[in-house]
């Protein structure tokens, strides 16, 4: 609060229209984006970077426009897989954190399994996936889930444990059961932490969905990447990467917005 009325803000000249524009939340990333694209285009042209290595933004744009239908329909598939994996990871991640905080012994027993689930490359155990789950959307969502739930668990655990001893005393003085301590104290305290975990989770869910599509699928942006890569359609490949990045940003900021809506008391 005092920050917004900080002295610097007062001492400077009144904000002109341009300055106000520069302060708008979307302005900085936009400038950054435009700048990056410009630098990229110039570099590719000036340094004569070969097409098969890195196409110029203009080439990517053309490819994107030409293949819009393809990109769009595949993006929707990836989006759906990502959201399913993300939702699963949010629910399971928080539940696991709750279980591990409520029963530390269970937590200690589970942790190695969770860490293992992270460090074992999904690609290495693809045959298991293929034979047991099959290929396609389910596998992708599942891999998205596996890649996304860990940050939720770790951050939610930190959040659930972030309560002060005083607050715990307060709850216990009211005769709160362990469940009530969770519901009325630990969970609300953990919310900002869980949101942070979810921000990480959404990014990793996308990666997971893509990896899942690598492993075996006939649609989705990951499938498109593999195919265009194999066929050296480098411009379409980069167009798919651009769509993927846009989707990532949208989802990431969506989760951030969700966080702001949920945490109103700050």
């Amino acid at each position: 609060m005092s920050h917004s009325t900080a002295p610097t803000g007062r001492a400077t000249a009144p904000r002109t229209g341009l300055r106000r524009l520069a302060g708008a939340p979307g302005f900085a990333p936009l400038v950054m984006l435009v700048g990056l694209v410009a630098v990229w285009q110039v570099c590719v042209r000036v340094l004569d970077v070969p097409f098969y290595l890195l196409p110029a933004p203009s080439d990517i744009w053309t490819a994107g426009v030409d293949n819009w239908g393809l990109l769009w329909s595949n993006a929707l598939v990836t989006l759906a897989e990502t959201l399913v994996g993300f939702a699963l990871s949010a629910v399971v991640g928080v539940l696991l954190a709750v279980v591990m905080v409520a029963w530390p012994l269970a937590g200690r027993a589970l942790y190695p399994v969770l860490v293992a689930s992270q460090v074992i490359p999904k690609v290495a155990i693809a045959p298991l996936f293929v034979v047991w789950i099959g290929t396609g959307v389910t596998t992708s969502s599942l891999i998205a889930f596996v890649m996304a739930f860990f940050p939720v668990v770790v951050n939610a655990t930190q959040g659930l444990n972030s309560v002060s001893e005083g607050s715990l005393h307060l709850m216990r003085s009211m005769g709160a059961s362990q469940w009530q301590v969770f519901r009325y104290l630990r969970l609300p305290s953990a919310l900002p932490f869980i949101i942070t975990g979810l921000q990480l989770a959404i990014a990793f869910a996308i990666v997971g969905a893509i990896v899942g599509e690598f492993v075996g699928s006939d649609s989705g942006l990951g499938y498109l990447l593999i195919v265009t890569q194999g066929n050296l359609m480098t411009d379409t490949l980069f167009a798919a990467l651009v769509v993927l990045t846009a989707m990532g940003l949208l989802l990431y900021y969506g989760v951030e917005l969700l966080g702001r809506l949920v945490i109103r008391w700050k």
Partner: protein, 282 residues
């Protein structure tokens, strides 16, 4: 709610008796250990209003936490209502030294936390919470968040929360410390009222000697390092007491009595050998 202490608690409406015998509380860390309380023994009959007085750091808050069952004595036992305390008494209300409001709950919801945890009827309790808020002068703040309140306002919300459910055992740790003299007086009168009407055992920590005399049936004065009782004074003033009682000679007597104990304790450090503060030697 399924705490071990609950089943054995007396079901009658009588306030709980507190028995403290040979209680020692040592805070041990790897680097040092502090004996916060040493061999404390006393008994608080049900319905008594007991004040704890003593210099900062003498173990008042510690004793309150022990009676509440939030911490356990290193040795000795504490009984409430005839049962050894292992968990908070089911009918406890507690005001902590810090306000401990939940930043995500509005003022009224912070008070209703007590109702939520105790699975009481939220609607009826909401009316009572509003009543209490009005009583402490915060009727306009019902829907504010804690960060929008001043220190004294937060403290008053904490008091409302502690008494929402008409507890039979009320532990209060300097509940009026952040309040001005007038508000403080009024709340003291209300509290004395409430305690008398509802047959509640109250253990009250304060730094105001006259407040202690005004409110209490009995005053324990404690000394620090390690905390022990150095005076046990029964205040035999008629009840109900109005604020005018503070002008009576008997009241002044009690205040003087407690002040004397304090002075005998010595103050927090050696006086400077000789200074221009003639007054400090008195």
């Amino acid at each position: 709610m399924a705490a071990p202490g609950q089943a054995a608690a007396p079901a009658s409406g009588r306030a709980a008796r507190i028995g403290i015998s040979g209680v020692e509380r040592v805070y041990a860390s790897t680097r040092s250990s502090v004996t916060a309380l040493h061999d404390l023994t006393t008994e608080v009959p049900g319905g008594q209003f007991l004040s704890l007085l003593g210099p900062s750091g003498c173990g008042k808050s510690t004793l309150l936490r022990l009676i509440a069952g939030l911490e356990h004595p290193t040795s000795g036992t504490i009984e409430v209502g005839g049962t050894t305390v292992t968990a908070p008494h089911p009918d406890l209300g507690m005001v902590f030294q810090e306000d401990l409001l939940m930043p995500w709950r509005t003022v009224i919801d912070n008070i209703l936390l007590q109702a939520d945890v105790r699975r009481a009827d939220r609607k009826a309790m909401r009316d009572r919470a509003r009543e209490l808020l009005a009583q402490v002068g915060l009727e306009a703040c019902e829907n504010k968040y804690p960060r929008e309140l001043s220190g004294g306002m937060r403290q008053r919300v904490g008091i409302c929360r502690a008494i929402l459910h008409d507890p039979r055992l009320l532990l209060m740790d300097e509940p009026f410390a952040a309040l001005d003299a007038m508000t403080r007086d009024q709340m003291a009168v209300d509290l004395a009222d409430m305690a008398a009407q509802r047959d509640t055992t109250v253990v009250f920590v304060t730094h105001s000697i006259s407040e202690a005399v005004f409110l209490s049936d009995r005053i324990l004065v404690m000394s620090p390092r390690p905390g022990r009782v150095v005076a046990d004074i029964t205040v035999d003033l008629p009840r109900p007491r109005g604020l005018h009682v503070r002008e009576t000679p008997r009241f002044a007597d009690y205040v003087g009595q407690v002040t004397e104990v304090f002075e005998d304790l010595g103050i927090l450090r050696d006086r400077r050998p000789a200074g221009h503060h003639e007054g400090t030697q008195r």
